[in-house]
Structure formats: structure tokens, C-alpha cells
């Protein structure tokens, strides 16, 4: 366990070096946040009936989404791992005295954590102090806040478990672009990053509810604003746990299987 922990710590420190890049990221995220809010504002203005989620809840949803982008984006990837696999340097990884799944999992987790730490707080703090229609609100009560944190963390763990499959698939395809693109595009859509899940038509919502993607982004954000009530949130957290255990278990089997057929050429 301590080996994984030190990988996590090292990576975290490494990621924290890129502060200028993070600042640029913050600026970009603000722009996107404002843009989405304005678009939805325009939609809401002449809406013939009450939308499934109030504008205030939606604005909070959008700011959370922008600040925790590193927690929810599937295409956020570690090119180092891809080159390891395609260049054959994977041989070194195999020599290490710890299990490769856990090792990479820790690496990916740290990459996302460091990027989010630098970006999320500036965005969140500013978002709270924005002028009225755009500002973010606190969760309605403490319990909701705690549930949100729990859901967000589990969502992050779940997302890393999903993204592991992209790396595993590279063992077979040898090119990361195709699989990242397909899993990324579909995952993003069903995680509610293009439009929030409540806006989808019913048939699409039921598909989204069956897939794990929404549990990584849409679910924690709606728990925060209280759009998902507390008892439902607890259920959702249980579902998250089940998915997490299942995906990690399957992922380890898949990775070990892929590793067994690895052929490393000398040179």
C-alpha cells in the first residue's frame, strides 16, 4: 500500500509544477462556464413550462462541472502510459515489485488530483463571489455537503477505474487515439457533460441511468444542489460502490490477461 501512496505523492508534486498552465486553464473554464450559463438563461427565459431543474441549481451544476473538470473528463489522459505500452518500455514496469494495476491507478489518480487542486479552488472561490445571477450557492445543509463530498470522491475513483480500460485497450489496438475518442465521446455524453441528464428525453435518461458514466459527474453535482434528495443520494452512493468494485475487479482481470500476451522486442 505504501508504494502506491508514494507514487501518488510523487506524481502530485510533479503535477503541481505546472502552475502557469493551471492559470490558463482557470481562465478558459470561466469562459466556458459563463457561456453555458448564458445559453441556458436564454433557453429558460421564454420556456413555456417549468424546466426539470431550476436555473439556480443549474448554475451551481455548471460551476461545479467547470471547477472539477479534471475529475470528470475521460479524455484527460496520461501520454506517458501510452508510450510505455507502444514503445515496449512496459518491460520495466513489469519488473517493478508491485502490481501494475494499482501502480497505474495511483498514477492516474494523482494526475487528476493535482490538476484539480490547482484549478478547482480558484474557480470555486470566485464563483461564490460573482454578481447575482451567476453566483454559486452553498449546499442547502451540512448533510448534503458531506454526501456531495462522498459522491464526488467515489465518482473520481470510479472515473479512474473507467479510464483504466482505455489504457488496457491500447494493448490490443496499439494506438490510443481511436479508443480514447470513442470512449471519451460516449462517456462525456452520458456523464451529462454536454447537456445535464435531466434535459435528456426519457428514453435517453433511462440509458444514462444504466451506465456508470453519470455517477462520475452528473450525480455528485446534483447531490450538491439538493436536486437529488438525501435518501436517493445514499442509494446512489451504494450504486457507485458496487460499480467501483465491479469495474476494478474486471479491469484487473483484463489487464492481467493483456499482460500475459505482451511481446516485448529487444532493442
Amino acid at each position: 500500500m505504501s508504494a502506491y501512496y508514494s507514487v501518488l505523492k510523487l506524481r502530485l508534486l510533479n503535477g503541481m509544477q505546472y502552475r502557469a498552465a493551471a492559470l490558463a486553464g482557470v481562465a478558459t473554464q470561466f469562459f466556458w462556464g459563463f457561456m453555458y450559463i448564458m445559453i441556458f438563461e436564454a433557453f429558460y427565459e421564454y420556456s413555456p413550462y417549468t424546466p426539470p431543474i431550476s436555473l439556480k441549481e443549474l448554475i451551481t451544476y455548471i460551476w461545479l462541472q467547470q471547477s472539477f473538470l479534471a475529475f470528470v473528463m475521460l479524455w484527460f489522459r496520461d501520454n506517458e502510459l501510452f508510450t510505455l505500452i507502444t514503445s515496449g518500455n512496459i518491460a520495466y514496469e513489469l519488473c517493478r515489485p508491485c502490481e501494475i494495476y494499482g501502480f497505474w491507478y495511483a498514477k492516474l489518480l494523482a494526475g487528476r488530483l493535482s490538476s484539480a487542486l490547482l484549478r478547482s479552488f480558484p474557480i470555486l472561490i470566485v464563483a461564490f463571489f460573482l454578481p447575482e445571477p451567476y453566483s454559486m450557492t452553498l449546499p442547502p445543509n451540512v448533510v448534503t455537503g458531506i454526501l456531495f463530498l462522498l459522491a464526488l470522491l467515489l465518482g473520481l475513483l470510479l472515473l479512474v477505474a473507467i479510464s483504466m480500460y482505455i489504457y488496457i485497450s491500447v494493448f490490443y489496438t496499439m494506438s490510443p487515439i481511436g479508443s480514447t475518442l470513442m470512449i471519451g465521446v460516449l462517456g462525456e455524453f452520458f456523464a451529462g457533460l454536454i447537456i445535464p441528464i435531466p434535459f435528456m428525453p426519457d428514453w435517453l435518461q433511462s440509458i444514462a441511468y444504466m451506465l456508470p458514466f453519470r455517477l462520475t459527474a452528473d450525480f455528485p453535482f446534483r447531490v450538491y444542489s439538493g436536486h437529488i434528495p438525501q435518501n436517493e443520494a445514499l442509494n446512489g452512493i451504494l450504486v457507485q460502490l458496487v460499480w467501483l468494485v465491479g469495474l476494478v475487479w474486471l479491469g484487473r482481470i483484463a489487464l492481467n490477461k493483456a499482460l500475459r500476451r505482451v511481446v516485448v522486442q529487444g532493442g
Binding site: 445559453i39 475518442l181 470513442m182
Partner: protein
């Protein structure tokens, strides 16, 4: 110009060497804006309209800007990936050749896989046009073409300015995405749905408004006042590329090799 087509031909042949990868990528490129468009469709299914614009009008807006974006990404990819040329000092080689730097950098890369994206926007465009009742005339058709061409020029202009920045910063800068990707997202809706300052910024500073909002009003017959003026706005917008080229030449003169 002849040189540029030769560049294109060579790049096309080299990309076609990896045929499967080429088709897969084009296919994937088709799906990226597809989910965005699906999102747009579902939003309209819920709300019906946005500030008085209905779905097909916005779809037309969407198609024009996405087509312009995809085309410019196709052609101006060399500028998008320009920081690479500067970092490893390859730009020195470009400078010693007796041809224009603009043509050489443009010809250094060409992303044929973006055809997937272009195809998607063409389909949206056709779908929108079939469902809109527009009284067509030759002038309107010309305006539509001008909108797309001028959009390509504006995106290319932004890429050029972004590349010019690399002369000083060496690394590419992420903030520029606000104007390329962000501009595309902003301009896929008619600009009058936003706050005034955004509309103004994207009309007078970076003239996306001139390639879809203003001429679109003319095509849809919503204009009040001067038709000709609305029709000609794409031409005015395409002037945007001139100062960009000037900045580029200024940058080239101040270029200092990294020496690697």
C-alpha cells in the same frame, strides 16, 4: 499556389498509407460534433425555442460555424501545431527556403481526417435548409457561401495569431482556445442570445457575428433596413485575416531560433 497543392498531394498520400487508422479517425471526428448536435436537439425538444429562434434556424447557424471550423482545422493545422516547429528549431529551415513562410507553414500539415467533421456539418446544413422555408435567390446562395468562406478565414486568422505568439513564448498557449473552440461554441447559437458585451466582442473584435448572425438574419428574412449591408458583412469579417498576417510578418522578423 502550385507549391501548396503539391504539399497537399504529398501529405494526402502519406496519410493514406495508414488507411484503417485514417477511416477510424474520420469516423471518430464525425461523432464529436454529433454528440454536441444531439445535445442541441434535445434542448430544443424540451424548450422549443431560444429567444425566438427555432431549432432549424439555430441548426443552420451551427452548421455554418462548424463547417468553417472544421475546414480551417483541415487547412491551417500547420499553424495549430506551430509551437512544435519553433521548439525543435525546424522553423530555421523554413526561413532559408526561398518561398513565402505562410505557404510553407500552411503546407507543413494537413488534417484530412477532419473530413468527418465537415461531412457532419454538411448533413446538418442540408437538414436545416430542407426544413426552413426560405425564399431563395442567387444573392442569398452567394451570401451562404461567403459566410462559410469568411468563417474559415477568421479561424485561420486566429490560428496565425496564436502561432505568432509562439515566437515569444515558445510553448503554445491554452488561452487561445477561448477564441477557437470557445468562438465556435459561442457562435453556434445566434449571437443575440448572449449578454451585450459578448455579442459586441464577437462582432467587432473577433468578427464571428459577421459570418453567421448578421447575414443569417438576411437569409431568414429578419432584417430591418439595409439588406446589402447584411449581405456584405461576411466580406467585412474576412478582412480580419489581414491584420493577422501583418502580425505574423512582424513576428517572423523578430524570430530568434531556440538553437536546438
Amino acid at each position: 499556389m502550385k507549391l501548396y497543392f503539391k504539399y497537399l498531394l504529398i501529405l494526402f498520400k502519406s496519410q493514406m498509407q495508414y488507411r484503417t487508422s485514417f477511416w477510424l479517425l474520420s469516423f471518430g471526428q464525425f461523432f464529436i460534433p454529433f454528440t454536441v448536435f444531439a445535445g442541441l436537439y434535445f434542448l430544443f425538444e424540451r424548450f422549443g425555442q431560444i429567444k425566438g429562434w427555432d431549432f432549424f434556424e439555430v441548426a443552420l447557424c451551427f452548421a455554418v460555424i462548424h463547417m468553417a471550423f472544421a475546414t480551417s482545422e483541415c487547412f491551417a493545422r500547420g499553424y495549430d501545431a506551430f509551437s512544435g516547429l519553433v521548439v525543435n528549431g525546424e522553423f530555421d529551415r523554413v526561413l532559408v527556403r526561398p518561398r513565402s513562410t505562410v505557404v510553407q507553414v500552411l503546407g507543413s500539415k494537413f488534417e484530412f481526417t477532419r473530413f468527418g467533421r465537415i461531412l457532419q456539418s454538411v448533413m446538418v446544413l442540408c437538414w436545416a435548409l430542407m426544413n426552413l422555408s426560405i425564399e431563395w435567390s442567387v444573392v442569398k446562395a452567394i451570401t451562404l457561401c461567403l459566410m462559410i468562406i469568411s468563417g474559415v478565414l477568421i479561424f485561420t486568422g486566429i490560428y496565425i495569431v496564436a502561432a505568432t505568439m509562439c515566437f515569444w513564448t515558445i510553448q503554445g498557449i491554452e488561452v487561445i482556445n477561448i477564441f477557437t473552440d470557445g468562438g465556435r461554441e459561442i457562435a453556434q447559437y445566434p449571437l443575440n442570445i448572449y449578454q451585450k458585451w459578448i455579442t459586441k466582442f464577437f462582432t467587432y473584435v473577433i468578427p464571428f457575428g459577421t459570418v453567421n448572425y448578421l447575414p443569417l438574419m438576411y437569409i431568414l428574412g429578419r432584417t430591418e433596413g439595409n439588406d446589402i449591408l447584411h449581405m456584405l458583412t461576411p466580406l467585412i469579417g474576412s478582412l480580419f485575416i489581414l491584420p493577422c498576417l501583418l502580425v505574423w510578418h512582424f513576428g517572423v522578423r523578430h524570430y530568434r531560433s531556440t538553437g536546438s
